[in-house]
Each structure stands twice: as structure tokens, then as C-alpha cells.
Symmetry: C2
């Protein structure tokens, strides 16, 4: 009988001997490797935090004591130990639980968390509420070294240090967040590791914390001893654990970046890397490399997730001094890019739609108020079946209502490259480009549009009665809609590729009034505050009817994309029905 | 002849002796006191940074060398020394230059800056661009101690430390930002002051910087000596200056908070404080104090600007442990409030519309994704004649398109109090309330609306033909519009107070179709992504015409409010014209 068979909840852990917990760690690790290699997901972070999680649940009394996991992409062991091991034992149950903490799954989870650097602030709030209510539970934040570079973590630390009561910050220092860590802070973490935590110059002490260091952060006995020492402590404390990311899986230990998050079946693949066919990542990196060679002021910036847009090691090496990863520091990334552009360089910042949410004020104040001609590539923007913490469908309302910004939506490779090149070379506007994801469309015909003429939509086919304005990645849906409108209703619709998200082509919209009675807009995101509503506002004082297709304002959680399309009438059939109902 | 008469540009400074610069500092101080007391503005920050500014311009070669001022509310001496002294000499020129840096005014200003904590990231970008272009100018960021608590500053420091080339961060430590500083970091600044910069535990060294300390941060000779030492340095350095906020003005030295920013004529006033009449500030603080007395879990949070919403010293003292100022740390404030609410406490976070921009991701992820029933009071939201760095007209698009949030717009005191009380007591939704500013409206009749019935608009008067939906502070404009429509066109318009910004009352909107042909929406903010567009989208498929009144998406800079109203057709006359044109 395995140890895990006896363990369902943390109370079962408390009956185990240290040696049994060590065996349990190995059993859990085997499950994690098999599960993550099957479903894909966060491999390295979870493998590195098995023993600390066991020790936490052994020493503390969860769920009364609260553990807040930063990003929560290291919470699989926590899930296994808190009533959810079935989701890891059998492949048919693998999809049962999310990859992140979620209070709807278990009372042992404090928050839905998927973005980084939030744990200390959240824990601080729990501790403040406890103090107001006169409770005495422990409040613990688990934060990885990578997450420490985010501003929210620092704001949290600065305030947590003054709490004057129990809060325990576990710093999971695995020398590596996603890609290698960058920033001055990391030299201090190194110094602390090298001095066994004894260096006088100590970031955490400077922030006002009591401080403990553990070199063997994967040693169960030492972890338990240390956690017992800080349990019920009456002041803020940082517990700095040196752990091994990917522990127990040789390739993950050897290549921490590649095994941070893996695709299904990664461990089963042969050693020969696949030859990637052309896609929006390769098109982007090819363009940037070529441009950077010609112009030494071209500069690529990534905030901690280079792999998410194809900034491979080879690309980064070739870029050399013309590339930087600023770490998890999106606010800095935008402000820095803005200043570079203002000073005459040509910065290109790549960022995910879900994470650009951290930069509204920097986009507004540092970038747009200064009209800095930086280029921002927004990746993974659009509806998707992603976890609710990583949705990319809110960028249009978030970004496009900021003055001065030009937000562009290419529908294919050629438009994308033309927009990118225009943006990098122009000096008048802050520009963001919504890089398509999913289907790679190449027209084979170069796009010679002059994008300096702002808000000029492209009339692709001139028809009558109905006009379809289909934005970016949904332009293909617009084409299909036009085709079916002809087939099924005999309507020869006008088809428009607007390209510009941030402004309307009043002249073209005005001209449609002549022989159209319905304008249909399509956008790959939520409707509220988005693109289509601006078109509708334009026609508000006229006889023109307008139908806006896009998604409802909501957080969807791993809802398959096809279902999202159906629920929002984004399939051609359902759109046709809605249109016919109106004509 | 005064020294200042000989000084127009930094080059003129370089001919002066130290003693002459000391005299110059006194002359400048006299101007600053007179000017700020006349126009209102930032008194303390400017008075404390006279000598450092003189020394900077004496030692460095601006504008080739770049100085980036954080917040830039300490830049008046810089303006006086860089060709703009006329704006400070004669009262008739006082309005000539803005209270912040602006490259349109002078090549000595690097950026339009008005929000805090941005200087290090911006300087970092200037330095990176310089390195790519092979330049050798100095890049200097001037950051006050208060601004150090913002996450963007930390992200900037973390990256600047790794720059590997010249960047000089001047930390202007006056022991005080706006209100007293809060946070663990400030204990380290104190330690450094007390040890003359010699303490081993040093936040800046831990972040990877070379470090210099100057105790007499207002001593011109010592400043010059130190700046000469770091000029042309080839690595990142922090220069920590201990300065005196409000220096040279006794009441400002004595009460640093009260003299951070003053109203015109503050120095001329007698000692008796005015008895404030009832207003939205007093209504808020009275409510919170009363509630907090009854319920120990009620907790007020302010991010660094308590005076901006009437959180007086008396209020703060009375709140005791049920109040915290988190410093300039809006991200933390939102996440912390969210966690407190999740843990059963009743947090009320007050924040300015312009600064809530720093929290989009925290609103989305920490608050709304977790459906935490925290209360956020958004102050100073709406169109105004403010500086372009401090506009409050973007909050509706920024906040209201985030799922799960309930954003409410009261039109008067009674609605405000009813909404506030509902929000504090309910446990289902994150709630934000757009606190009115400007005219204080009391109906004298308690509002008994059940706000748990979301998105139920209030039909104030039922008419026909035209329906006026007037949101929040613009409800009074809606009433006036209805009155004039009757008088001038005989139209008996319907008047609706929507109260809910984040959703539409489909039932009521549907019912309007029966006997209305035009719906008019009024909102106090920009139209793009705002409230009215959602109404328009609802009617897109119908015969109903819709006119949205609100402002154009743009950054306005000290444009008088009446002019903004005219330009955007927000006066009753212009609205009537637009409506008549359509009927």
C-alpha cells in the first residue's frame, strides 16, 4: 500500500513519520510527472514545491490557517493533499480540477489566482481581516522568486512588513521564474543563498521583515522544523527557501525554462526538434531580427514570458544587446519602451493580452500622454477556452479607449507585417498591434496600405443592403458570413476590413447609408466597451440598423471555444439567423 | 540687482559662486511662496528641492544630460532655471506654465509627468536608448521618498540596477510624501538617515545599486561636490539626499502634510478653521465613522491621498485601527481590500478616478474574478478643467467593462448613502461607487431603493417621444434638458436616472420602444467605451434613434470645464439643438 493511499486530507499527513512523508513526496512527484506530461501544464514549479507543501500542511492547521499561492501554478501537491487527489490518479479525471487554486473547488483554496505577484497583498488583507475579527489563525503567502519582480508584490511586502501581527511570507527561491530571472534584486537573492542567509545586506530585512533562510528547501525534516519555528509568530516574517525547480525529473532540472510549462507529450518526444512551419511567431521574430540587423536602435522587450511569443533562445542570442527580458514587470516594460521611443530608439514590446491588463496607467500616462512612438505587440488576444485567469478577450475595451493610441488589428500575415513596419518606422503615435493567433492566414500579396492615414477602413467588396465590418482575426468569419448571405438569402453584402480598432472611418460609414439598411460588426472579444459599439454610436442618429457580434462581458473558465462561439451567436449559422430576423 | 535677474538658463548658473547660489535659492523660495500662495499648488515639495535643483543644473549639462522628475510636482525651480522664470515673477504670468514638466514648454523637460513612481522606468528607457545610439549623456531620475512605495518605481529600480551603464537615481528623502509615509521600506530610509547612510542593511544596495548619502540635502556646496562625484559614472547609482520639505516657510516646515498642496490664499488666512458645510466628503466620513463604531470589521483604506476625499486627521484618529493609509500603492490597496472582504470584513477603499487607473489588473483578477464584496469609492470622477495628467473622465470605460463589478452612479446625497450602505452590508458583488463632486445635491428624501436588484433603472418621470437617460452627476443636466424640451419644443420627455453604470435595464429600455422615437444618454466622461454606447447597442436592431452625450476621447490640459462642455455639446442649448435636428 502506498503512503498516498492513506492520505486524503492534511489531517492524514499529521500521522506520518518524516520518512513516510519523503516517500509520499516521491509518490506525488510520479503522479505529477505523468499527469502534466499527459495534459500539459506547469511541470517545473509543481515538482519543485512538493516537500514544502507537505511540510506546510503537516505543520499548519489548514483550512483555518490560510495559504495563498502566488500565481498558484505550484499548487498541484496542495490539491492532492486537500481532497482532490482523484484528479491526479486517473487520466479520466485529469480535467476535473483547474491548474490554479479556486475556492469553488475546495475550502483549502483562498482565492482564484493566476496572475503573478498578488499573494502578499491578498495575504495581507486576510491578516487584517483576522485582526479586526480577533482571530488567531496563521496567514501564509507562498511567492516564487520570479513573482518578486512584479510591483504589486513589492507594494504588498512594504505594507505587510508593518502589519504588526502574524503574516508568514514563504519565498520559494528556485533561482528561476519562467525564463532566467532579471533584475538587481536577484543578485541579493544570490548573495543570501551564498551566505546561507547571513549577509547583512538583505532585501527582506531592509523591507522591515524578520527573516529565516533554509538552504535545503526540499528537505522535509528541515522544512518542518523551520515552519514550526515561525508558526503562530506574532509579527511579519519572511521564510526564504532555496528549492530546486523541476526536482526529480532530470530534463526539467537540466532545462528549467523549457520545463516551466510543457505541452502534452513533451517527455515522449524524440530529441529532434520539429521544424516549425511559418506562423505569427516566426514571422515576428524574422522581422525583428532582420530589422535589428539593419538598425541598431531596434530593441525587443519581453516581460518574463519570451516563450509565449516565440522569442526562442536562438532569437534572444541573435538579438544580443538589442533584447531585454525585464522580468515580471509589465508596468516598467511599457514606461521603459515609451522613454526609449521618445529618445529616438525603436522599441518593440511583446506582451500577452491577459498581462497587458497590468499596465493601464502606464499606457495612459507614460506612453499615450507623451505620444511616444513605441510599438506594442499584443499576443493571444481574442476569445479562447483558457482558464478564467488567463482570458485574452478584454484588451479592446482596456486599451482602445485610451486617447492617442493607435490600436491595429491585422487580418493576415501581410497586413501584420505592413503594420509592424509602419509602426516601427513612424514617429507620431504610440501603436499597439493585436497579433493574430490561431489560424495563420497569408494572402501572398504584399499589403501596401499607408497606415499613417489613420482610421481608413478597407472596403474589400462593395455590395448593398448589408455591410459586414469584420475586425482582425474575425475577418475570415466576415468573409464566410458574406458568402453564406449570398447563398442563403441572395444578399450581396459589402465586406469591410476595418484594420483600425481605435477610430472609425466616418466617411466610409457615412457612404454606407446610401444603399445599406444593416451594418453588422464582428469582433474577437467582449462587446462592452469594444469596437462594434463605436460603430453603433455613429449610426445612432440615423435609420441604419446595426448588429454587434462579439462576446458577453463575463469570465469564462475553460469553456471550449466552439461553445463560446455558440453562446454568443458567433457561428455563421446563428449570425445568419439574427440577420434574417432583422431584414 | 538680484542674482535671479542674471539667470535665465543653466549656463548662467555656472558663472555663479556658491554664496551667490545660496542667495539665488532664497530669491527663488520667495517667488515660490508668493506664486503658490496665489495660484494654489504644490508648496512643500517645491520648497524642499530648491538647492538640489540648482546644484543639478550647475553640475550637469542639461538639456544634453537628462533629468526626469517623478510626479514632477517639485519642478518649479527647474522651470525657473530653464527659461521660464517669467511664469513666476509676475502674477499675470502665473498661469503661463503648467504645474508639471512638459516637453512642449521646454526642451529641458523630458516627459509629461503627473502620476507617481514613473521616473526610474522612464530614465531607464532614456539610458537604454542612449546606449543603443552610442551617446554618453547622464540620465538622472529624481524620485521622492513617497513615490518609492509605488510598484512601478520598484520594477524600474530592479531593472535600472542591471543597466550596466550610467543612470543616477536621486532619492529626495524628506521623510514625508503627501501624508506621512507608510510601509516597511521607510524604516530602512530612517535607519540610513540615522547612520549617515552607513548601515549595512540598505534597500538600495540590496537592489544592486552603488549608493551615496548626503545628510544636508539642502546644502548647495555639499550637493555640488556629491553630484560632481557621480557625474559621468558608468554604472547605476543611487544618491540619497535628506532634504527638508517646505524648507524656508515656517508653517510648511511645521505641518508638512497641510502644505504639500495648498489652496490659493492659504497663508493669508486667519487661524480659525472654517466650518465646513455638508458635502460629499463630510457625508462619507460621517457615514464611515458611524458604521465603524457599530461594526469593528468596517475598515477604511486610503492610498496616500487622504486629504483628497476629506479623510482629515480627526477622521483618521477617530478610526484608529479601522483605518490604514497604504501609501502610493493602489495595486496593493485593491488586492488587500478584496482579500479583507473575502475574509468577511467590510473594507471601504477611497481612491481618485485618475489613480484607480493603476489598478485595472487588480480590479479584474484580485477583486472581480473572486467576486469579493469590497466597496470602492471613486472620487473626482468626471470631466474637469484639470491638468492632462490628472483627468478623471476615463474611469467608466476603464472600470465598467470588467465582469462581475457593480459600478454605481448616485445623483444625490440620499442615493449615495443608500448605495454605500447597501454595498458595505452585501456579500455578493464587488461594488464601486462614483462619488459625485461639484454641486452637492440633497433631495431631503431618503432613498429606499433595493440595490441588490441589479441594473434596475429609476423612471423618474414618464413621458413620451423622447427619453432622457442621465447618469449620476449629469442627472441634473437631464432634468434641465427635460424642462427646456417642454418649454421650447412642447415635448414631454421621459426622464430616467439609471444609477447602474455596469448593466442595462433591458425591460425598461424595451418598454420605451412603445411611445418614444429618440433616447438621449448623458454621461460625465468620455463616450468611447462608456455608458451610452451600451444603450445604443441595445437599440441597434430597432427603429429607436439614440443620441449619446459625453466627451470626446482626448487628453485635455487645463481647458476650462465650460469650454469642454461647449466643445462636446454638453450645454442644454447645444443638446436641444442636436435633438431638434433629429426630430
Amino acid at each position: 500500500m502506498s503512503i498516498l493511499e492513506k492520505v486524503y486530507y492534511p489531517n492524514d499527513l499529521k500521522k506520518l513519520a518524516i520518512s513516510e512523508m519523503e516517500t509520499l513526496a516521491q509518490e506525488i512527484r510520479d503522479l505529477l510527472i505523468k499527469k502534466v506530461n499527459t495534459t500539459g501544464g506547469h511541470m517545473g514549479p509543481n515538482l519543485g514545491f512538493v516537500e514544502p507543501t507537505i511540510a506546510l500542511h503537516y505543520v499548519f492547521n489548514t483550512p483555518e490557517d490560510k495559504i495563498v499561492y502566488d500565481v498558484s501554478h505550484q499548487c498541484y501537491t496542495h490539491k492532492i493533499l486537500t481532497g482532490r487527489k482523484e484528479g491526479f490518479l486517473k487520466p479520466e479525471n485529469y480535467a476535473k480540477f483547474s491548474g490554479y487554486t479556486n475556492p469553488d473547488e475546495s475550502e483549502y483554496d483562498c482565492f482564484v489566482v493566476g496572475h503573478t505577484s498578488t499573494s502578499v497583498s491578498l495575504a495581507c488583507g486576510l491578516a487584517k481581516a483576522r485582526d479586526l475579527k480577533g482571530g488567531n489563525e496563521n496567514v501564509i503567502a507562498v511567492i516564487g522568486d520570479g513573482s518578486l519582480s512584479g510591483g504589486e508584490a513589492y507594494e504588498g511586502l512594504n505594507n505587510a512588513a508593518e502589519l504588526g501581527s502574524n503574516i508568514i511570507i514563504i519565498v520559494n527561491d528556485n533561482e528561476m521564474s519562467i525564463a532566467p530571472n532579471f533584475g538587481g534584486l536577484y543578485s541579493n537573492l544570490r548573495l543570501l543563498r551564498e551566505t546561507n542567509g547571513k549577509a547583512e545586506c538583505n532585501f527582506f530585512k531592509a523591507m522591515g521583515f524578520d527573516y529565516y533562510y533554509l538552504e535545503n528547501g526540499n528537505n522535509t525534516a528541515e522544512l518542518i522544523e523551520l515552519f514550526k519555528k515561525v508558526k503562530d509568530i506574532k509579527h511579519p516574517v519572511v521564510v526564504h527557501l532555496h528549492t530546486l525547480k523541476g526536482k526529480g525529473l532530470a530534463p526539467a532540472e537540466a532545462d528549467k525554462e523549457a520545463f516551466h510549462w510543457i505541452l502534452p507529450g513533451t517527455l515522449d518526444k524524440k530529441d529532434t526538434p520539429e521544424q516549425a512551419s511559418e506562423n505569427y511567431f516566426t514571422v515576428t521574430t524574422d522581422y525583428i531580427l532582420n530589422k535589428a540587423k539593419q538598425d541598431k536602435t531596434v530593441f525587443a522587450i519581453s516581460p518574463a514570458t519570451p516563450g509565449a511569443y516565440g522569442f526562442t533562445r536562438e532569437f534572444r542570442e541573435k538579438m544580443g544587446k538589442q533584447y531585454t527580458d525585464v522580468g515580471i514587470a509589465e508596468e516598467h516594460a511599457v514606461a521603459c519602451a515609451s522613454a526609449m521611443a521618445k529618445a529616438g530608439a525603436k522599441p518593440i514590446l511583446s506582451i500577452l493580452s491577459s498581462f497587458i491588463q497590468r499596465t493601464y496607467d502606464q499606457l495612459s500616462q507614460d506612453l499615450c500622454l507623451n505620444n511616444s512612438p513605441a510599438t506594442i505587440l499584443v499576443h493571444w488576444a481574442g476569445l479562447s477556452g483558457a482558464d478564467m485567469t488567463h482570458l485574452g478577450c478584454f484588451d479592446i475595451p482596456m486599451i482602445s479607449n485610451i486617447p492617442n493610441l493607435v490600436y491595429l488589428a491585422p487580418a493576415n500575415k501581410e497586413e501584420y507585417l505592413a503594420m509592424l513596419d509602419w509602426s516601427v518606422e513612424q514617429t507620431q503615435h504610440p501603436v499597439a498591434i493585436r497579433v493574430p493567433f490561431g489560424a495563420f492566414i497569408s494572402t501572398g500579396v504584399a499589403d501596401n496600405t499607408d497606415y499613417s492615414k489613420l482610421n481608413k477602413y478597407c472596403m474589400v467588396e462593395k455590395g448593398s443592403d448589408v455591410a459586414v465590418i469584420a475586425l482582425g482575426t474575425f475577418f475570415e468569419k466576415g468573409k464566410e458570413l458574406k458568402r453564406i448571405l449570398k447563398e442563403s438569402a441572395g444578399i450581396d453584402a459589402t465586406l469591410i476590413n476595418p484594420k483600425f480598432i481605435t477610430g472609425i472611418d466616418t466617411e466610409m460609414l457615412e457612404s454606407l447609408k446610401e444603399n445599406h439598411r444593416l451594418v453588422v460588426t464582428l469582433e474577437d472579444g467582449i462587446l462592452d466597451g469594444g469596437f462594434g459599439e463605436k460603430i453603433t454610436r455613429f449610426y445612432g442618429n440615423s435609420e441604419m440598423k446595426v448588429l454587434n457580434f462579439g462576446a458577453k462581458k463575463e469570465f469564462t473558465d475553460r469553456v471550449p471555444l466552439e461553445e463560446i462561439y455558440k453562446l454568443n451567436h458567433l457561428t455563421t449559422d446563428l449570425m445568419i439567423q439574427d440577420i434574417k430576423n432583422l431584414l
